[in-house]
């Protein structure tokens, strides 16, 4: 039972292009949606996060777009660089501090020089 569905599983983008990774969730109790970035040989690290009271959050070249009615959110990487090549996980969490973070299946992103 997958509560957070992520696509695509893998993605190849040319340097300078826009990378887009999509996620959908089912549980309307989720109220925190982070994205984690994982480089080879490293553990995942928090990249950017959004709450459902806003439709977009931007940090540098990384933007989360959030559609509450469709229960979907996406990560956009503008001007993608080879250093962005990594695995990206979307996730969701409920309001309670005891609520667990639920991860998507991951997207392996490769940026071609």
């Amino acid at each position: 039972q997958q509560q957070v569905k992520q696509s695509p599983q893998s993605l190849i983008v040319q340097k300078g292009g826009i990378s887009i990774i999509n996620c959908a969730y089912e549980n309307t109790a989720f109220d925190y949606f982070p994205w984690y970035q994982q480089f080879p040989g490293k553990g995942p690290a928090l990249l950017i996060a959004i709450r459902p009271d806003v439709s977009e959050k931007k940090e540098g070249r990384f933007t989360i777009s959030f559609n509450k009615s469709a229960k979907q959110f996406s990560l956009h990487i503008m001007d993608s660089q080879p250093g962005d090549s990594a695995t990206y996980f979307c996730a969701a969490k409920g309001y309670s501090s005891a609520s667990k973070i639920i991860f998507g299946s991951g997207t392996r992103l490769s940026i071609r020089p």
């Binding site: 969490k93 991860f103 299946s105």
Partner: protein, 115 residues
Amino acid sequence: DVKVTQSSRYLVKRTGEKVFLECVQDMDHENMFWYRQDPGLGLRLIYFSYDVKMKEKGDIPEGYSVSREKKERFSLILESASTNQTSMYLCASSFDGLGGANVLTFGAGSRLTVL
């Protein structure tokens, strides 16, 4: 720099062996977690702990147990390793307090191969 340290990066064990994966964090975090990472399945929660000597089952606890005798240390135990437990294991921690539970700090992972 804050750290979650997993003692073994690579382990090779035989079917039926008892396996210990150790994790230590130096951030005085209350909460600790063990995840398993498999291609196409993402990160799946095995066990977690909100306090010393406390443990809670995650989504896939079968075949695993945990121990948390000290706040900074959280161990994952495979009582009798099986080939389907070949995977990458990730330890993480988080702190209580405003927004703290929302952010996981991960270790670098322990890749276990069971032959």
